[in-house]
Symmetry: C2
Subunit: 313 residues, 2 copies
């Protein structure tokens, strides 16, 4: 690595881009912050698998009726013409169809309840051993026929460089609301990759997020780094029925191939960050991304709450 100290703040534990060269660096943070406990919301097998592989798939967390209710809500959002013009939305260049809608944990009552539901939030509190808040939330609609690939990346690398998330003490939850099969561009993960920090090359261009949400060019691993991660951990596809929940560490290397099948995909995406890990100034050279991509002005710790039914608002 060629790292000029003046180019980054002194307390940057994970320098990337700018003067950095492509390299794998050891993770200096824990994956599981909590001590083992008999009252943990995850059994010890699952905790160990999460620590080792960086992700977990759970298909038994929500009832069929709850999943249907969430599917209906996503359908409603998609057909709401007002949302298509919202600054919180990303639409398809050609058709104008809704592709992503951000900050849903603030704007939508049902999804706000989902974010605070103890079936999710208690797992996040336990693994991160702190109060938690939502760093980012969104719903994604990925079309069939011409679905684009999303290249390999660690979310943490972007959140650190572009948002100022100091350390690896966050996790993501992806709740699939359509069936994911091998052929329709499911999430691909590299088990164990979360234990390395992949330094990336290149200067971040201004307003990178406007492009990176559609195709990421900066903050992606070099071919050599990726080969090394895959040689160690292999690649797994995350497939499953609607309602499957994928819990993954903020630094897990993941991506997805494109999708030429007629089967579309949609999911809900929530990022839980430890309160003590709230964002500071970005570690990269560009101004912080907007609030809807990265909670900064409005940090709202999720209140401990009884388990909700998500069947209706």
């Amino acid at each position: 690595m060629q790292h000029l100290p003046s180019a980054q703040p002194a307390d940057d534990s994970y320098p990337s881009r700018g003067q950095c060269r492509s390299a794998l660096r050891p993770r200096i943070d824990p994956v599981v912050y909590a001590a083992p406990s008999a009252n943990a919301p995850l059994d010890s097998d699952r905790v160990e698998r999460y620590r080792r592989e960086g992700y977990l798939v759970m298909d038994d967390l929500f009832s069929a009726t709850e999943v249907e209710s969430l599917q209906a809500e996503l359908q409603r959002l998609r057909s709401d013409p007002h949302l298509h013009e919202s600054p919180l939305s990303i639409t398809e260049p050609g058709s104008g169809a809704l592709r992503s809608l951000f900050q849903v944990h603030r704007c939508n009552p049902l999804l706000r309840r989902l974010a605070a539901d103890p079936r999710l939030a208690d797992i996040a509190r336990y693994l991160l051993d702190d109060e938690v808040y939502i760093h980012q939330s969104r719903v994604n609609y990925k079309p069939g026929f011409r679905g684009r690939e999303f290249y390999w990346h660690s979310d943490f690398e972007t959140w650190h460089v572009e948002d100022g998330m100091p350390r690896m003490r966050a996790l993501s939850v992806s709740l699939t609301l359509t069936e994911n099969v091998e052929q329709n561009g499911p999430l691909l993960v590299i088990p164990g990759s979360h234990r390395h920090f992949v330094q990336c090359e290149g200067d971040t261009p201004a307003e990178h997020y406007k492009k990176s949400l559609q195709q990421q060019e900066y903050g992606v691993p070099s071919d050599a780094c990726l080969e090394q991660l895959v040689a160690e951990g292999g690649i797994r596809s995350v497939t499953g029925k609607p309602g499957s929940l994928i819990l993954f560490d903020c630094n897990l290397m993941h991506g997805s191939n494109g999708n030429i099948t007629p089967y579309p995909r949609s999911n809900l995406f929530l990022v839980y960050n430890a309160l003590c890990n709230r964002v500071v100034a970005p570690f990269g050279t560009q101004p912080a991304r907007p609030e809807y991509l990265s909670s900064r002005a409005q940090i709202e710790p999720l209140a401990a709450a009884p388990r909700f039914s998500l069947e209706s608002v």
Copy 2:
């Protein structure tokens, strides 16, 4: 369908593009031309599966040593700098790496022997019930990391419109020389789709082949046609070890997703056409594609031959 009789030759059994509208039409040709026979080079189960699904996968046709020999030959071709400048090759725009090399059954002694090997040619002669020749041959190298998708298409539609192949009496053989897994963009097929002819919309631009070999925009099915084929037959990925052979009907709808994994893919591709089905003038409006894409001036029926060893030239 809106079909203006004057726009196509009178004997066009499968009009497509030009004035045609997107539609599924029944196939009017057999899939298996031969009568059942005790001496058939395929057992009756395989013949019936091929008739019903339009493809077969066989992983027991070549010895490990033969597969290694073919792999070494592909490697040699790839590193031959002379071939990169050949008009028979397609190279990557950026790196100049070899992506496809055509007409290998004429130029390469080992691949010439492979094309004539009775393990392949006898199956083609049997299913097509005629003498056969090679309509097209090529080796394909598909890179990892940034491998492009190839959209759904029927080869026959292109061969008919752009090359003048009169009827559905041809089949393709794809011999995989790297491992195909679910994640590295394997061949996707729609079982049973070969029993429909999918009329496509749009006028073929001049020299379409120069672009279509990298990305096909014309001669692809509409979303509605594709949905109907998938609703009937589903989608299957063809995965397998190096040396697996995929035999598929000329009209089977197939494609592949992109490939963001580090795993490259390479294969050998041979198209056997019945001698009685040799190409005539193209059924579309453009001049015939060049000889290296579609044998026309040099139609050479494959001689009946003893089984070769492909271990060396």
